[in-house]
Amino acid sequence: MRTLEAQLRALRGAGRKALVPYFVAGLTPDWVRHVEAAILAGADAVEIGIPFSDPMMDGVVIQEASLRSLNAGTTLDSLCTDLASLSTTAPLVAMTYYNIFHHYGLERAAGKLRTSGIGGAIVPDLSLEESGEWRRACEDQDVATVFLFAPSTDPERVRLLTGVTQGFAYASARMAVTGQAADIGDAQRVVETIRASSDIPAYVGIGIATPEMARAAAAVSDGVIVGSALVKIILDGAGASEVESFIASFRRALD
């Protein structure tokens, strides 16, 4: 077992529900300060969204944030440079679309993540079936390949996916792209099927918009991912202190 998964299992071992906020890298010049503020407020790990021109699995909020970040000139290299100034050692997980890594070169990309302190990667458009090369590249660099589990994933595929997912299992609460929803949807069922074939930490994401929903999701899983709701306040102008209090409110709900 490699670094990221060990860290996250340790967290669970300590009885703590994981809180994983998602940031769009480069969305604002001081985005790394936002990351620090979140960790200060109790985030256990952070998803670093690498903007892509065609974010097929994202709703309007993250689409807009990605576009802004791209227009500001964000690249894989630039955001890794930015991360050098990050003052904490919390686990970081990249999230982006496959073409970014494919174009960069898979081994080169995995190496870049590792040297930038990113311990895992979520690639929503990389299916299990197509993931072999990427997994090999990551393996060499101790970068965990995190897979998504959808409500539509049948038990047979869940078994296959739990066999390869590393770090944690990303349980989609619903059949939807990223965005803010009103309930935790199918989270419990998805987590249960994951647990039926693996004891890897299972985190719930997609649509978790409020501390109450986070609490409900965490009650049936090992942690939650908070994306669009957070990105939205940053799009609307929130600075580091608002990010801190936003994350703190989720932390309180989870503890």
Binding site: F52, S53, D54, P55, M56, M57, D58, G59, V60, Q63, L67, L70, T75, L76, Y97, Y98, N99, I100, H102, H103, Y104, P124, D125, L126, S127, L128, E129, E130, F147, L148, F149, A150, P151, S152, T153, D154, R157, L161, S172, M175, A176, V177
Partner: protein, 394 residues
Amino acid sequence: MTEDSTFMSSPDERGRFGNFGGRFVPEALMPACLELEVAFRDAWADPLFIEEYERVLRDFAGRPTPVTPLDRLSERLGIRVFAKREDLAHTGSHKINNVIGQTLLTRRMGKHRVIAETGAGQHGVATATAAARLGLSCTVFMGEVDTQRQSLNVFRMELLGATVVPVLSGSRTLKDAVNEAMREWVTCVDDTHYCLGSVMGPHPFPWMVREMQSIIGREASRQLNDLGVGTPDLVVACVGGGSNAAGVFAGFADSTARLVGIEAAGGSAVGKGSPGVLHGMKSLLMQDEFGQIEEAHSISAGLDYPGIGPEHAHLAESGRAEYYAIGDEDVIDALKLLSELEGIIPALETAHAVAWIVKEAGTLIPLGSTVLLNLSGRGDKDVAQVRAILRGEA
């Protein structure tokens, strides 16, 4: 349905044509893609399904479309040009072949709704049409820019009972319409089929759409024999995603004919692209140095796409087919030439293929050659745009 072919055979079990293709989709959509593959294999091997598909193409869509000798153009160019007349198919382009197959498959899978992306609106109109026929509900995603450029096609879809959703993200054109259709599909995959409009997307779409379009090539090959022409020296088609080209190529892949695909210069995935992953497939894509997808820019909305179907990427790599690009500036002249000499106003997409033939007759096309042009669609949809261009308004 197509005979086993050396050059255009079925993809491998991962959906690869050589180095291209595959299935790069969110896990949420994997079951639907797998289900679709099973359903398609099953249907395509079922004589009753094939019979219905062919019957609807005949009785509803007007197949076979004829092959027209273009005598006056031929005389002008010093080559012999024949046109496969997909412009005469119901709704005005080859797109109907594919949607008839996919809507029948939708019903067979027990789904009640289809969604589709569209650029100029041809695939959207075709999908709305085929859906209406079967009483399926239908939603079409169309870039907001395109809904404005092609507002009459929006209204045609609405008349056919479809809902048209303007897509506000990204460049607000075809690429973004595909993104949005994929996003929608995730939310409703249970009872909804995504009726993709070209030989692109995740496996089995590129293969399935090619199979459903291969009737073009099979008919044309038979018709050229009936006309006493035999195998043409060249088969030429325009390429957006590549469905009309794949369909006509399929009838000649194992012949001696040169297969030629014509892209728009501003959407030239073979000419200017490199391998990448988008919309569920690995293929050739126009992208910047960081792997961000570039926006295509073409006079014709149907070729305004930065990628190409994976089988074309493979045919280009293997050398079985050649791909060239034609710039906007040659397209209008070609459209006018075909109109004036032959009484056929082609779609702007098709006019790219015409322009290449006109340009290369005597050079890349040796004098005396026999050329089959796939006349993928009619120009009615483009007439307002062409007028504006000629009047210097656009």
